[in-house]
Subunit: 218 residues, 2 copies
Amino acid sequence: MKRIADSTVRRLSAYLRFLEESARKGVTTISSDELAKRGGTTSAQVRKDLSFFGSFGKRGLGYSVGELIDSLRDILGLGRQWNVIIVGAGKIGTALAQYEGFRRRGFLVSAVYDRDQRKIGEVVSVTGGQHVIRDIAQIERDVAREKPDIAVLTVPGEDAQGLVDRLVKAGIRAILNFAPVQLRVPNEVALRSVNMAMELESLSFALSNRANAEGADS
Amino acid sequence: MKRIADSTVRRLSAYLRFLEESARKGVTTISSDELAKRGGTTSAQVRKDLSFFGSFGKRGLGYSVGELIDSLRDILGLGRQWNVIIVGAGKIGTALAQYEGFRRRGFLVSAVYDRDQRKIGEVVSVTGGQHVIRDIAQIERDVAREKPDIAVLTVPGEDAQGLVDRLVKAGIRAILNFAPVQLRVPNEVALRSVNMAMELESLSFALSNRANAEGADS
DNA sequence: ACATGTGAACTGCTTCACAGCG
DNA sequence: CGCTGTGAAGCAGTTCACATGT
């Protein structure tokens, strides 16, 4: 398979959300142009994005909403459940643990970790249940045994790289990082970072230079 | 001024963080190569990024850590305080309100809003203080009067676009969106989105297509 | 007639490579 | 001599434009 740009994947995800919304409204057919308007892109871009994976439309007509939803879910690997562990039970970690969007899309929080002895053993709510906070000290053992798919990192910046190294060694294959640091992982591990400091500073820059205010939205 | 790529601004932000860390360690001089290694890029990229704004280094030597920190803070517009309002006092909104990183970089939470009558009037902690949750109904009036710089949106997806329209009309110039929807704003308003669903789906895609696991990190 | 699918053109970010200067 | 600053080359992602299929 050809290498797919990250920007393409993000757009596919956006198309999927809009398609699901359209389906709920009873729309059954949609054109690349309508899809583009809502996704903040162009019809050519939509068609190009989809073309990497096959032909999903009918010429002269557009796309079947239902079929395209199925295809996109398949392309994005959303046809299964992914087990997610949350590493760091601070404010953001516990807030994420309860995020409804996780479950709705097949991401199940299977464990929550912290290193603070006072928190370990406490019960936290997660979407669709509860978990006892586990000790980060046992994370290698747990990851090796339970093989979670994704680790969400919500620990202080100074602890992040060390934990990543441990998680990678234990066999994790995907990490979503919220710590405000640049992490290093081997090529075979997928890493995405959400860096609030960076987003805020980018807004600060835009505000200080009106020329760049123009909305380059992720 | 020349148009600056978004990717450049994000890297500048990363350089700044690393420089501040180096300064704390007592490092006084640094080369583009060292800066690149930690920022996950190349030395040529570092020099090109900086070159858009001037010449900051000494040939044969490198950059003065202190001077470059000052220059970057200036470029990014971090020499002043920015007032931030948080719109939506749910789990994520309240967690963000307490985020230490806000204050440390000059972003001050100046108000918190919700539309839920049961929450309005409640007290929430924010970094360095407390706020009484205000009624979203009064947000236009407050924005017009208090002129906050940035609105952080942490409301349900279905309410997001409506609120953005109101905020923009009231005069907001920058928005950091956490709702999982694609927002539309006029060109003169700066918008950044953090979309967790998108990040997770992008990891799901990477896990389902090992070829793409390679870490394209934001 | 209409909207897709796609090679070709284009744009802009990244990398290269070296002249310039401390 | 070493490292910066930068024009030029390379490359990747986007846009164009039209042939194709219904």
